[in-house]
Symmetry: C2
Subunit: 204 residues, 2 copies
């Protein structure tokens, strides 16, 4: 019912299984999200297609886009930039289609600043639910080990605070179903649909 697509951002601590969950979502045939093709400054490899695997750009072009605020999010890995160009995402959203990004938490933080009305989903490890037993263990661990676990847990909870939803990745199919329900529900949010009704009334 909403005119504009939703920007859906899936993120979470490293090792939580974001990529596996994202693949499972795109493999199911009842989704209607668009891939967001990333941009990179690394060399095109044999068989890779511009605009399909990546948008391949020079370092100068990429840095120009960063400066003019045209990257939704980006990071540098081993001397090359990787990121999400804003233009593709905006065009797809404007066309009324949902865009699904699966990115690292640093990237998600950048997206949150630029698109605050996106749907931010934090994938949590199943053991965050059993935080206490996970940290205290069997009561035989050294205090510094327990302290380190508390630090990691505190960081994960701090990260989570920036998101709209927390989904436990206990089993991939469960996580996929939860995420799909969240996305469908977000389409029913009054603040996403009421504008359409108001415009219809005004146009008459």
């Amino acid at each position: 019912m909403s005119d504009r697509g939703l920007l859906i951002v899936l993120s979470g601590p490293s090792g939580v299984g974001k990529g596996t969950v994202r693949k499972a979502i795109f493999e199911s045939n009842d989704n209607d999200f668009q891939y967001s093709v990333s941009m990179t400054t690394r060399k095109k490899r044999e068989g890779e297609v511009e605009g399909v695997d990546y948008f391949f750009r020079s370092r100068e072009e990429f840095e120009q886009l960063i400066e003019t605020g045209e990257m939704l999010e980006y990071a540098e890995y081993v001397g090359n930039y990787y990121g999400t160009p804003l233009s593709y995402v905006q065009q797809t959203l404007d066309a009324g289609k949902d865009v699904f990004l699966e990115i690292e938490v640093q990237g998600a933080r950048q997206v949150k600043e630029k698109v605050p009305d996106g749907v931010f989903i934090f994938l949590t490890p199943p053991d965050l639910q059993e935080l206490k037993s996970r940290i205290v263990g069997r009561g035989t661990d050294a205090p510094d080990v327990i302290e380190e676990r508390m630090k990691v847990a505190r960081e994960e909870i701090e990260m989570m605070a920036l998101y709209d939803y927390a989904v436990v990745n206990d089993e991939v199919p469960n996580a996929v179903e939860r995420i799909k329900k969240i996305i469908e529900s977000e389409h029913y949010r009054v603040d996403r649909v009421i504008g359409k009704y108001i415009r219809m009334l005004k146009e008459m």
Copy 2:
């Protein structure tokens, strides 16, 4: 995962089918909501049970509860009060169970003031989606007829603005599924679960 239950409020314009949808939700066996038993000042009828069908109270007792702010919402119909006592709802939510209310829009407005973090779902008639054709009709209607339809549509859209979600009641089973997905998704909201994690960390 959340400690406290959710207060779910289903409302919408009269005639939209709120009661039918609520009954279908409670008849499905995969729900875990609690009924909220209403309170009334009308006489108990043959076979009705205190605390099951209604809480039966005198007019004085009911008005006392209104004055002390202990009614979540109430209204007067044909000389009798009907309403939702706050205490039952609070106790059930405190016990970690979801409470589902299906009430008129005036009542929902009162609940919104007292429990702003409830989940407010507005059931819309299917023809609100086809607002334009519904109002303009076949182009042969008198201007005052069209004006009256616009007024009704405007009122429905204004009501909707107070809610979190708008669910179209095109077919009862569809509306039921949408509402269930919304409720499940609301349980994944970070602001509903993060407090639990923070408390767990603090307790260690």
